[in-house]
């Protein structure tokens, strides 16, 4: 079976049936995303590796919990990776200093994956669209959103981290999300 020709939902179905080759294909597609998310939030190669391994083991164990009506595979996977990373951040009490706290500080260089060019092009196109939307936000809104998204901070924690009033942070998050919504729905 040529797994590269299968869509993400079919791949998840095959993982449910214990086909490790399907998990390998999912890793080829999204391993860099999961590792990238963990590494950019934590800046620790060993921990990021551990998180990536844990995320794909969870996918192997919990593939049956994926519901295509509730979202795409990439977002389901990103959520698992994000919550796992946030757990590690909280457990290790890693602070934001020295780590990425804004979307435009992140190295938006996606290493090419010659194994799956079509998928790469599709993801790169979608990524560029979202990144353009993010970069159109004022810097302070980007920072607030990044702390909430990558680090799992509540608005109160974002306010404490940035030394800003809570009301200001609430406004930044609300306006940032509103603008993103308008752009992405176009």
């Amino acid at each position: 079976m040529d797994y590269k020709k299968l869509d993400d939902v079919t791949i998840i179905g095959l993982i449910q049936q214990s086909q490790s080759d399907a998990l390998a294909e999912l890793y080829d597609r999204y391993g860099r995303l999961v590792f990238g998310l963990a590494f950019n939030a934590i800046r620790d190669q060993a921990l990021a590796e551990e998180i990536t391994q844990d995320v794909f083991m969870r996918v192997w164990d919990k593939a049956s919990t994926y519901q295509k009506e509730k979202g795409k595979v990439i977002t389901w996977l990103a959520n698992i990776a994000r919550y796992r990373t946030i757990d590690v951040l909280r457990y290790q009490k890693i602070r934001a200093e020295g780590h990425s706290s804004s979307w435009d500080e992140l190295p938006f260089f996606d290493p090419p994956d010659s194994q799956n060019i079509e998928k790469d092009v599709e993801l790169a196109h979608e990524a560029q669209r979202v990144r353009d939307a993010l970069s159109s936000l004022p810097k302070e809104q980007q920072v607030a959103l990044a702390l909430a998204y990558f680090r799992g901070y509540t608005q109160e924690e974002v306010a404490a981290e940035l030394g800003e009033p809570l009301g200001t942070i609430k406004t930044r998050i609300r306006l940032g999300m509103l603008k993103l919504r308008r752009i992405l729905e176009e």
Binding site: Q17, L23, Y27, A48, N79, L145, A148, I173, R181, E185
Partner: protein
């Protein structure tokens, strides 16, 4: 019926999961009653989903894929095709591939288990005989959302406390947990949240302000991590006293 005071300003932060627990529960309560705010939430949740595309990629170590694939459990029962294997079926499946030494060891363990079970039953019988009001047990059956699941709620002899044990519930993602609801006379109380192991096993000690014995029916639903003020997700187990 729709709630009067909408929570539109809070919905972006709610979708981003960046609200404190108390505020989050208030928004959740409103969302339960308000279809228009739920539609807003859907729109913002799509925005959060889109953010996944903007996550920067990085090249993992070359051997990580190999490490992951070689750490997968050797056998795993396909969920979509068959009923999950019981603990005994899994043990038997493993035993078949083991050596004769293991077979004898297993037989020995079975005999020990049988003997200890007998002893425990005798102890339980004695305890029951000596107790004027014994434990009450509520059997919980899986709904069509989790037909293979089962559970048991054991209520203390004074009716104040209880312990919930469940088996074969599907493990949930990190954003969700199971929550038990206690119902009586049209009123509902939160009994607590819990997660299950990858085998679907979970346990929870239930502490309520009122004696547990006063509740007549019990239900378990899937809720966002941390729990909800009212049931919002699928019911997976139910039972009555």
């Amino acid at each position: 019926m729709e709630a009067e005071n909408h929570v539109l300003e809070s919905i972006p932060a709610y979708a981003l999961n960046s609200m404190g627990q108390e505020d989050r529960l208030q928004v959740q309560e409103h969302l339960r009653l308000c279809a228009s705010c739920r539609a807003e939430l859907d729109a913002y949740q799509r925005v959060v989903e889109e953010l996944a595309y903007a996550i920067p990629r990085a090249i993992p170590p070359a051997d990580l894929k190999h490490k992951i694939l070689h750490s997968l459990p050797e056998k795993r029962v396909p969920v979509a095709q068959t009923q999950p294997a019981s603990v005994w079926q899994r043990l038997w499946g493993r035993q078949r591939s083991f050596s004769p030494v293991w077979a004898f060891t297993s037989l020995f363990l079975v005999i020990i288990l049988a003997a200890s079970n007998l002893w425990l039953w005798q102890r339980v019988s004695k305890l029951e005989a000596s107790s004027q009001a014994g434990f009450q047990v509520v059997a919980l059956a899986g709904t069509d959302k989790a037909p293979q699941a089962s559970g048991m709620l054991v209520i203390s002899h004074d009716g104040d406390m209880g312990t919930l044990v469940v088996d074969s519930l599907p493990p949930l993602d990190d954003a969700h947990q199971y929550q038990i609801w206690l119902n009586r006379d049209g009123q509902r109380a939160n009994g607590g949240v819990f997660s299950v192991s990858k085998d679907g096993y979970g346990a929870l000690r239930i502490l309520t302000n009122e004696p547990l014995i006063q509740f007549k029916t019990f239900g378990i639903t899937i809720e966002p991590t941390g729990g909800s003020t009212e049931p919002t997700g699928d019911k997976v187990l139910a039972g009555s006293l």
